[in-house]
């Protein structure tokens, strides 16, 4: 009996240690993850500071980190801003909580980068009742009453899709393949996401003008590398003659490239398959440089300056446009990527 008791004691101690370890982990890292949470005690906003609450999705990718950093760099205390930053850790409920916190603190502006499009009506209504203007950035929200937010600032994803289509048309023209039948497959993003809808429909618009383009199939790769790899494997098993792969983000492109290489096919202008990708993260641009990705359409993470401009306009009482798009560019294998990368921070 004695032995048994001691054993239980040992096990309990083990359990306790494990839990402490977990707790320790989370405490230790919190500071590291959240770029700059509100400094509780050191500084309070001055009387005339513009207080801005930002609810960010998370920090899941380089793109997102760059996006966050741009806010930090733009809304500095020297310029008279006081920033409260909340990381949503990929959860809508965290973002809703953050918004409620901003409302309680009575900030001057709320900037929301929504993780999903739906489910924002209630909390946006609360913000409106409190008289706090909300600026939606990056992804879109779908709410019944569009007056719940002041404006949306972000990428024109449909234009990105259109640009990709037009690039392909120009390219085929220049290679004398204008009337040749071109087989295309699309690796779509998560169905229903802003990026998926925009990029798919933008490209489809251009495709309609080209009778020789044949879209074999749309299949979702969920924006992840693993899923795209699997779907690309399936595409290659099913169709013998794929000319172009449209991959709606860079992560999926990495998976697709893997699958294509394993099947023994060649990428690039003289190869069997051409890939067109979106996002233009650094790793993908290196592949553009190598010629494995034909063209990559940027999704610009530096939204902050346009948000600042909007806030300044609102401060002066000027009207702002409901939807504002940031400038975006693209990269293709013919450009001098190396030089371009030097001047690019991400």
């Amino acid at each position: 009996m004695m032995v048994r008791k001691r054993k239980n004691l040992f096990l309990s101690a083990f359990l306790l240690c494990f839990l402490l370890l977990l707790a320790g982990c989370s405490n230790g890292n919190d500071a590291a993850i959240t770029p700059k949470t509100e400094p509780e005690s050191e500084s309070r906003p001055d009387e005339d500071d513009i207080v801005i609450g930002i609810s960010q999705v998370g920090s899941e990718s380089d793109w997102r980190m760059m996006n966050t950093k741009a806010y930090m760099d733009t809304f500095t205390e020297e310029k008279g801003y006081y920033l409260i930053f909340e990381d949503g850790q990929q959860k809508q409920e965290n973002q809703v909580k953050a918004l409620r916190k901003f409302i309680l603190k009575d900030v001057d502006y709320i900037v929301l980068a929504p993780i999903v499009e739906t489910g924002w009506d209630a909390v946006l209504k609360e913000a409106q009742d409190a008289g706090i203007p909300v600026i939606i950035v990056d992804r879109n929200v779908s709410v019944e009453d569009e007056s719940l937010y002041i404006c949306r600032v972000g990428s024109d994803l449909m234009q990105e899709g259109r640009n990709a289509g037009e690039w392909l048309a120009d390219y085929l023209e220049s290679r004398g393949r204008r009337n040749e039948k071109i087989n295309i497959v699309t690796l779509q993003g998560t169905p229903g996401s802003t990026a998926q809808i925009g990029r798919t429909s933008g490209f489809a618009e251009v495709m309609e003008k080209h009778a020789n383009w044949n879209m074999l199939e749309y299949q979702s790769g969920d924006f992840t590398q693993a899923k795209a790899y699997e779907v690309m494997e399936y595409f290659l098993d099913t169709y013998d003659d794929i000319d172009v792969v449209i991959s709606e983000n860079d992560n999926m492109t990495f998976g697709a490239i893997e699958a294509i290489k394993e099947a023994g096919l060649k990428l690039g202008k003289n190869g069997d398959i051409m890939i067109i990708s979106f996002d233009a993260v650094r790793d993908a641009l290196l592949l553009v440089q190598k010629g494995e990705i034909m063209a990559d359409f940027e999704c610009n993470p530096i939204i902050a300056p346009l948000v600042e401009e909007t806030i300044q306009k609102l401060e002066r009482g000027e009207p702002v446009e409901k939807v504002q798009y940031i400038d975006e560019t693209y990269f293709d294998y013919r450009m001098d990527i190396e030089t371009l990368l030097e001047s690019r921070e991400y």
Binding site: F14, F18, Y218, Q219, Q225, D237, E262
Partner: protein, 353 residues
């Protein structure tokens, strides 16, 4: 007639039957759409590696097959399921990549620590998770689902913390090897085969399998007859954790990165389903490992079939659910009883005639 009866009475008949059913859908579809009728089964060597739908299924099904080993034992011993395996996969992959890349680094082409250290740490943390689950279930008498719910939610989150909420890329060929090809065969297939082989040898050559089943059938009676029931249950959970760790590393090596948000997502459900499809009772007791493994590949076959049928991935879960319902209903006791009655009636009719 007798031989047919013999076959249908076999333990593995229904799992294999379901597998064949899924494959038949492909054959029918191929014929209907005018392709080669057995295109689904064709295997070729392209670019020095094996190629074909069957290979895809075996390759993609590896993780679930590995998970199914551990899940079968857990279900058998504790009459409950370990719902934390998907999260533990992600945690083990996350820790491994974090160590290999160094904390806070998101993209490396050189190891920060030797490969085996990272791999071992990944597997070790998964075993610790198993130990934690097992302790709660076996010694604290917490219901398995509730006990494993803790790591189901925390495991992935710890993984995210370890990776600083980033996707950590480890671009080293020897790391990618475990998710790519070993000669002409995909490495995950080999890893899964080795795991299954080891598990079946251990269960066959030792009395462990019998112990587990007897604990599952009646915990108290087993304890009275001299087994340490709690220890056996604990062991099952540790094995389940180990399997989750291995599966996690395979999934991580496939994409040579720790995508902690997505690795093993919802895979616990596939693993539990594999056990159920394998003809095992989720109420514990007797188990059939081979059935679970076949179940695991059946699930993957369904997924691959849905691609082939051109079902968009947004709607795929609906079709998957329909197929699963059919398979589970076929295996359920009332349906079995009905067929038994039917054949008995036939036999009587024959005798009368």
């Amino acid at each position: 007639m007798d031989s047919v009866k013999k076959i249908t009475k076999m333990k593995l008949f229904l799992p294999i039957f379901s597998m064949i059913l899924v494959m038949m859908i492909n054959v029918i579809y191929d014929i209907a759409s005018g392709n080669a009728p057995f295109g689904f089964f064709s295997i070729s060597i392209n670019n020095g590696i094996l190629y074909g739908r069957l290979i895809d299924i075996l390759n993609r099904g590896s993780e679930v097959a590995i998970l199914a080993i551990g899940m079968t034992l857990v279900v058998s011993a504790s009459a409950g399921t370990d719902i934390s395996v998907g999260s533990v996969m992600s945690l083990s992959g996350g820790l491994c990549c974090m160590l290999l890349a160094g904390y806070g680094v998101t993209n490396v082409s050189n190891y920060a620590v030797p490969l085996w250290v990272g791999m071992l740490a990944g597997i070790a943390i998964a075993c610790v998770c198993g130990l934690f689950n097992g302790f709660l279930v076996a010694y604290m008498n917490i219901q398995p689902m509730v006990a494993t719910l803790i790591l189901w939610s925390a495991g992935r989150a710890i993984g995210l913390l370890l990776c600083n909420s980033n996707i950590v890329y480890v671009r080293v060929p020897s790391f990618q090897f475990f998710g790519a090809y070993c000669g002409i065969i995909p490495t995950p297939i080999i890893i899964a085969a080795v795991c299954v082989a080891i598990a079946s040898v251990v269960l066959k050559s030792t009395a462990l399998g019998t112990y587990i089943q007897s604990v599952g059938i009646n915990k108290r009676a087993s304890r009275i007859s001299g087994f340490n029931s709690a220890k056996i249950i604990l062991l099952c959970y540790v094995i389940c954790g180990l399997c989750a760790g291995i599966a996690g590393l395979v999934a991580t090596c496939r994409i040579y990165s720790a995508d902690t948000n997505n690795i093993g997502l919802n895979m616990e459900l596939d693993a539990i389903l594999a056990v159920a499809l394998g003809g095992n009772s989720l109420g514990g007791g007797k188990f059939n490992l081979a059935g679970s493994i076949i179940g695991a590949y059946t699930i993957q076959a369904i997924t691959t079939t849905l691609y082939a049928l051109g079902v968009s991935s947004a709607q795929a879960p609906v079709f998957k659910a329909i197929v699963v319902i059919l398979i589970v209903v076929i295996q359920s006791q009332p349906v079995k009883d009905y067929f038994k009655k039917l054949s008995a009636k036939k036999a009587v009719a024959k005798e009368v005639a």
